[in-house]
């Protein structure tokens, strides 16, 4: 039987293929991926149901009350015979409020159970016309939810797959499989295979989530949201593809410094912080132009920051391109440095390798 010299990239392909298979075979991974997808699906469906429900306030109207509900949207009126009957419906919580005749100026009053029904009252109020000079493009709650969505998906995917890479690097060191692997292929091919294998999986998961979310939005009749989200989702995927490679290289290099699973946490926690910071920033500062502007150019937070700005419509057309170029350049640098650390630490067993030693070799 003859062995042919394997090219670097076919070695990489074999390693990536094994990483993907091993991951897909893990029940824990499949289940957590399903939960994430179902979570996204559920939040869209529930959101859609909730938004439909808020529109109709059940109100009892006593016969003879001035017709103030005509032309008012969002009220489900039930006509009843007497004030007593209307009160009973309110007490039974069959309706949120009742309109009953009154001798006052308006000719009717509102009866409610324990608090003023503000929504109804404002619907019945006379309001002056308001002209907004700079209208907010989307409502605040929606902005918050979109920010949370991008942040959470980035955070969960990066942590899940980053931890996977770290574990798989240490597993090979701990079981010493790495000696066999490195005697067969270059360390760099091993690292590249791991990073690519996990990046492919992570990206596939993101794409599946995007497709599920798109389908769910379309099916629940939220086309408006879909149209405004579309471009930012596509950019999110592009940024994630590059940004994840950056994180993966850092996770792999950090994990190579230790030889036991118990020690993985201590070396990867700084990287985990790098992933968590953009998540918290986007949740708390999604309405802050300055913070978002900075986030959209810092390589670790750009995958969340830039799509957010695109969604808000505050990014110029060239900004995502420039930011993506910065992420690509940072990733290239991190991969080179990470490969060096990985190569130099891989066969050092026992205690934790000092970062300086790993870089010098």
């Amino acid at each position: 039987m003859s062995t042919s010299p394997l090219s670097f990239w076919s070695s990489v392909g074999l390693v990536a293929d094994r990483e993907i298979r091993a991951k897909l075979r893990s029940k824990a991974f499949v289940i957590s991926a399903l939960i994430l997808v179902l979570g996204v699906l559920a939040s869209i469906v529930i959101g859609s149901i909730a938004s439909q429900n808020t529109s109709d306030i059940p109100v009892a109207v006593v016969q003879g009350t001035p017709d103030v509900l005509g032309g008012v949207d969002g009220v489900d009126a039930t006509t009843v015979g007497s004030t007593g009957e209307a009160e009973q419906l309110v007490r039974d919580k069959k309706v949120d409020a009742a309109l009953v005749p009154d001798s006052g100026q308006l000719g009717y009053r509102v009866i409610a159970l324990d608090s003023t029904p503000d929504t109804l009252v404002s619907l019945l109020s006379v309001r002056p016309a308001v002209d907004l000079l700079e209208p907010a493009p989307t409502n605040e709650l929606l902005v918050y939810l979109v920010a949370l969505g991008f942040g959470l998906i980035f955070f969960v995917s990066a942590i899940t797959f980053g931890a996977t890479i770290a574990q798989s690097v240490v597993e090979e060191k701990q079981t010493r499989v790495v000696e066999l692997l490195i005697s067969a292929i270059p360390a760099r091919a091993l690292l590249a295979g791991k990073v690519i294998g996990n990046s492919v999986l992570a990206l596939a998961q993101i794409v599946v989530i995007a497709i599920v979310a798109t389908a769910a939005l379309a099916l629940t009749g939220q086309q408006n949201l879909l149209t405004s989200l579309g471009p930012s989702v596509l950019w999110f995927i592009a940024f994630f593809a590059v940004g994840f490679v950056l994180l993966a290289a850092i996770f792999a290099a950090s994990a190579a410094l230790v030889s036991r699973q118990e020690d993985v946490g201590s070396v990867t926690s700084p990287v985990t912080m790098l992933v968590m910071i953009p998540y918290f920033l986007i949740v708390f500062f999604n309405d802050n132009e300055l913070v978002l502007g900075i986030m959209s150019y810092v390589p670790f937070s750009a995958p969340v920051g830039m799509p957010m700005r695109i969604f808000l419509g505050t990014a110029q057309w060239w900004e995502p391109l420039l930011s993506l170029a910065i992420v690509v350049a940072t990733t290239a640098g991190a991969v080179l440095l990470g490969a060096r650390i990985y190569e130099n630490s891989l066969l050092r067993m026992g205690g934790r390798v000092k970062l300086g030693d790993a870089i010098r070799g």
């Binding site: 062995t3 394997l6 079981t175 000696e179 066999l180 067969a184 292929i185």
Partner: protein
């Protein structure tokens, strides 16, 4: 043939290998013995290219070993390692493919080896579910799957039951018979003694003896003879040129040169019946103690 040529390796202050030089002949089983920490594993890692020596080098058939050559080496590390959650056959195929086998060739070689090592019934079990002895067999299969041109095995027999030892010995001898240079380390000196054509003895990073096992025996011991007769053997003590080491009724172990030994044999035959007269061969354990001292 693999030649290790004046290899020196330091770990910080510690001199792990000091001008290590020896050869692993094609078609020969070479035993590598030494105490723990003597430098066996470090030497093997240098041969495999896992460690870069500070000076010296390794040649294959007279030229420096390249990464391409090393890919066709078979290696069994001392600290065993396979992926615990991967199936045995799948794992060995994977390692074969990393060494350049096609998918089909890797599958064929794996099936054949697992059958040979009597592990075929467990081919689809995960490595972690195997007994230690069977994990060991899987490890050996991983070293052999790509039909290596050179075999470097660190303690291949540790943890194996006698039947498994025989199976592995059979496989190694078969490879050697095809002309593959085989180097293996072991603490089981009787086994090394039984198997090896050549021996390399290392102590504290220095090669103390290397060469054909037979020659090492003769070189490192004074010729001794064992005489078994029906008669009393007390007369031996009076013979010139003879140093009696031990004796009992009708039995004696003595040191003497070749000519004296022949004279003693004739004289013994003259005195009565000789049951046996043999050259006493020092055991490897004795040589080892002698050489390392």
């Amino acid at each position: 043939m693999i030649a290790i040529d004046h290899v020196t390796k330091r770990f910080g202050e510690r001199l792990a290998l000091d001008e290590v030089t020896f050869e692993i002949g094609g078609g020969r089983l070479t035993g590598f013995v030494g105490a723990n920490g003597a430098g066996k594993t470090t030497t093997m890692r240098v041969i495999l290219g896992l460690l870069r020596p500070d000076s010296g080098g390794v040649t294959l058939d007279g030229r420096a070993v390249t990464p391409g050559d090393r890919r066709r080496f078979g290696y069994m590390p001392e600290e065993r390692g396979l992926y615990p959650k991967m199936k045995v056959a799948e794992q060995i195929e994977y390692l074969g493919r990393l060494r350049g086998l096609t998918k089909v060739a890797a599958a064929g070689a794996t099936a054949e080896l697992l059958a040979r090592l009597e592990l075929d019934a467990r081919a689809n079990d995960t490595v972690e579910s195997l007994s230690l002895g069977n994990q060991q067999r899987a490890q050996i299969a991983a070293a052999l799957v790509h039909d290596p041109e050179v075999l470097i095995l660190d303690e291949p027999f540790s943890g194996l039951d006698p039947l498994a030892v025989d199976a592995v010995v059979g496989v190694l001898q078969e490879r050697a018979a095809r002309g593959v240079p085989v180097l293996f380390s072991s603490h089981q000196l009787e086994l090394v003694e039984r198997l090896c054509d050549d021996l390399v003895i290392i102590s504290a990073g220095t090669i103390r003896a290397a060469g054909a096992a037979e020659r090492l025996r003769t070189d490192n011991s004074t010729p001794a003879w064992e005489l078994l007769t029906g008669e009393d053997s007390g007369w031996l003590r009076a013979e010139p040129g003879v140093l009696v080491r031990e004796f009992g009724a009708g039995w004696a172990l003595f040191e003497a040169d070749e000519a004296t030994a022949q004279r003693i044999l004739r004289s013994a035959v003259g005195r009565g019946s000789v049951v046996s007269f043999t050259r006493s061969r020092p055991s490897l354990a004795q040589i080892f103690t002698e050489v390392v001292k």
